[in-house]
């Protein structure tokens, strides 16, 4: 029974991951992006759970719970607290929505091309979906480069990280549990640190625009 639904479930989860990433590029409101990030966290957790059930490994299911707690709940909560506390400043990105979405499409095609060269020896269903992870990494980069608010840059970093996790789970069933713990903790701490810095930035400059960080140069 499960084996027949398995490919569809993998497709559904990775589809949700790609869709949320693309929507994050499209939407300019920070709060909307944070909600999408939370959805993405749930989709990633579901993907891990599906792989875990297919492989019948308890450890992978535990990782799914960890992903759900960290990426689905804790990180969006930290970010949302940061955003509610401030005046609602919407993003004015360097790319307009049409150009950005077009770039997303190009990046997705690019990642399929790269992955077809890379994963020649692997014909499993999960490896077929691995390009989605690469596409998410590239979309995360796009967000990092084109956004001007500190909070949006943070979201770009998290999409990048989700993409790496997706690649990890789809190509090798994820890294060992103790490593996943370490990686999740590191990412959580980085976000907390950037959150603290964004707070200091607001105290010093009155806003969180990255463009004003231009005093240090040669």
């Amino acid at each position: 029974m499960f084996t027949t639904v398995y490919p569809q479930l993998i497709g559904l989860c990775t589809g949700a991951l790609l869709l949320t990433s693309a929507l994050m590029v499209w939407r300019h409101s920070l709060l909307a992006s944070i909600r999408l990030l939370s959805v993405q966290g749930f989709a990633l957790a579901a993907l891990v759970a599906v792989i875990g059930v297919e492989e019948g490994e308890l450890e992978v299911i535990l990782v799914a719970v960890l992903v759900l707690l960290v990426k689905g709940m804790a990180l969006p909560w930290v970010l949302a607290r940061e955003t509610h506390a401030t005046t609602r400043t919407d993003e004015a990105p360097r790319l307009n929505p049409t150009a950005a979405l077009l770039t997303v499409a190009l990046l997705t095609i690019l990642s399929y091309v790269v992955a077809s060269r890379l994963l020649t020896g692997d014909t499993s269903i999960s490896a077929h979906a691995a390009p989605i992870g690469l596409a998410m990494v590239l979309i995360g980069f796009l967000l990092l480069v084109t956004r001007r608010q500190a909070g949006s840059q943070l979201i770009g970093f998290l999409v990048l990280d989700n993409g790496i996790a997706t690649v990890a789970f789809l190509t090798s069933g994820g890294v060992p549990l103790f490593l996943e713990l370490g990686i999740s903790l590191d990412v959580l701490l980085v976000v907390v640190i950037l959150y603290v810095f964004a707070g200091r930035m607001r105290n010093k400059f009155g806003n969180t625009e990255i463009d004003q960080l231009r005093k240090l140069h040669d």
Binding site: D161, A168, P176, L179, I183, L189
Partner: protein, 531 residues
């Protein structure tokens, strides 16, 4: 001897906790020094074990000290000791409320770096390197000025994105390792020759991992965080980052290179590392020529030396002992220089080279060591950087990479000239008679006494010595005036012993064949060097 594998992790961790709770500032400030000593002693114990043909392991092989790991742990401890002990005099303008967390974070940093070099697992090493980003983020932003905030933000974003790319590479290597039957991230397993690893995955994974760690190692074109972070962090932290963090990132690159070389041959990463190394040298040369800030000068010099080490790594087996010696020599020299630069910054109150003149006459206590350390950094014998650079260049010619080392040599000469000029500008010459000159002499000859508002004249006077005629100009504008006698400041403004020990070590280490030479050879063998 395997207890020496957990001491460099546990003792700094405990000391970090203690420095958060101990109320006495005097005791608390000693805790980073004690952490460094713990790491250094553990490193030396492991080195002695390795030289006795043992390979200590712990926690089911998760922690393992071969010759390379033991050597790197010793480097971490030694550079840490110079930075923290030398930094004891550095009070800074730190609010007392944050002083405890400063000392705690340095201990955490040392523990994380120790874990990174003794972990026999790429993933664990990755987590440790990322943990150092977290520990150093607040250290870089410690002064809480807008500039240090900017440096810290750039550092965390670039550092964590770079390391995230490395994680993607590690994930691909992990996927490739399924070919061995059981997926693994152990260095020991993956470095064996003749493993059935997927070449396409290893190529992509190796490239991404090296790219990611190269960001952390400050190699161009991913270097832009480095000068900002190094110039804004407190001086001991800059020393730790330059001497330890960059070295550990290079260590990660060397280990990954061993894995990829066994599967797809050395050519692929050789090109990547050569390009990165030459670009780093070029960036350093271009930005050192007109450098105005002495801490940024040291930061660009770090980029230069990392570039040279990357070229050594690209050359491969023949250059590896020189590269490893380089790591120690550069770490100790740079830590010394950053510590002195922190003291100069504190007593002179300015990071501008133009405003710091005639140090040798005014403050011989700092200037003598600064001159000696700069000579070591520039690559004068008998200091070990000279022998490392010569070793890399000779090995490069021998392995048919003459063009690369030829270009590197030209760029090194440019850097040599720039650093010499800047050092001479800071130290040699006669001082400007401050009090009387500001009243009598025209403003154009007042580099240091000019009021802060007159930026234009300050910049103009800075240009004159920049043209290389500083020696002939200074006697004119520094006519001795009886009413303003200059009292030479012979104070070292902090502990001098660690700095003297560091420079002494770099001066003699290249001449000690036993055990240093043996250790370096064995460490290079771990990386598939000299068979």
């Amino acid at each position: 001897m395997s207890f020496a594998l957990w001491t460099p992790l546990a003792i700094p961790a405990v000391l970090a906790l203690l420095s958060l709770v101990v109320p006495s500032p005097a005791l608390r400030r000693l805790s980073p020094v004690a952490s460094s000593v713990a790491v250094l002693v553990s490193g030396l114990l492991l080195v002695s074990a390795v030289l006795a043909d043992q390979v200590p392991t712990l926690a089911g092989g998760l922690l393992r000290a071969d010759a390379l790991s033991a050597y790197m742990l010793t480097v971490v401890g030694a550079v840490g000791l110079v930075s923290t002990w030398g930094g004891l005099g550095h009070a800074g303008n730190v609010p007392a409320r944050f002083a405890g967390s400063y000392d705690a974070l340095i201990s955490v940093f040392l523990a994380a770096m120790s874990l990174a070099v003794i972990a026999d697992n790429i993933g664990l090493m990755w987590a440790a390197v990322e943990a150092t980003t977290i520990a150093t983020a607040f250290l870089v932003g410690h002064h809480r000025t807008p500039r240090s905030l900017e440096a810290a933000w750039k550092y965390v974003i670039l550092g964590s994105v770079g390391v995230a790319i490395a994680l993607l590479g590690i994930v691909l290597i992990y996927a490739a390792s399924r070919g061995t039957g059981e997926a693994t991230l152990s260095w020991l397993v993956l470095s064996q020759a003749g493993l059935p690893l997927d070449p396409a995955l290893i190529r992509a994974g190796g490239a991404l991992a090296v790219l990611g760690f190269a960001t952390k190692a400050g190699l161009a074109p991913m270097h832009s965080w480095l000068p900002d972070a190094h110039s804004q962090a407190p001086a001991p932290v800059s020393g730790l980052m330059s001497g330890v963090l960059l070295a550990v990132a290079l260590y990660a690159i060397l280990r990954i290179q061993t894995i990829t070389d066994a599967v797809i041959g050395p050519d692929f990463l050789r090109i990547m590392l050569s390009v990165g190394g030459l670009l780093s040298l070029f960036v350093a040369a271009a930005l050192l020529i007109r450098q105005r800030d002495f801490k940024r000068m040291l930061a660009y010099s770090s980029i230069e030396h990392m570039g040279m080490m990357a070229i050594g790594a690209a050359i491969g087996a023949a250059a590896l002992p020189a590269v490893l010696l380089y790591v120690l020599g550069h770490g100790l020299t740079k830590a010394t220089l950053f510590v002195i630069s922190g003291r100069i910054l504190e007593v002179e109150g300015t990071p501008k080279i133009d405003d710091v003149r005639a140090l040798l006459v005014r403050r011989p206590g700092l200037a003598v060591l600064w001159l000696i350390a700069m000579a070591a950094l520039i690559g004068f014998p008998p200091f070990s950087i000279f022998f490392s650079e010569v070793g890399i260049i000779v090995a490069g010619y021998a392995t048919g990479m003459g063009v690369v080392v030829g270009i590197a040599l030209v760029l090194l000469l440019v850097i040599f000239a720039s650093l010499t000029r800047l050092t001479v500008a800071m130290t040699i010459g006669a001082p400007v008679a401050q009090t009387s000159a500001s009243v009598a002499a025209p403003a154009a000859v007042l580099p240091s006494a000019a009021a802060p508002g007159i930026d234009v004249t300050g910049a103009m006077t800075g240009v004159v010595p920049a043209a290389g005629v500083g020696a002939s100009v200074t006697p004119v504008d520094a006519e001795p005036r009886p009413e303003a006698p200059i009292v030479p400041d012979r104070s070292g403004h902090g502990p001098m012993l660690p700095l003297i020990l560091a420079l002494g070590t770099t001066a003699v280490v290249a001449f000690i064949a036993e055990p240093v030479g043996t250790l370096l050879t064995r460490a290079a063998e771990v990386l598939g060097g000299i068979q």
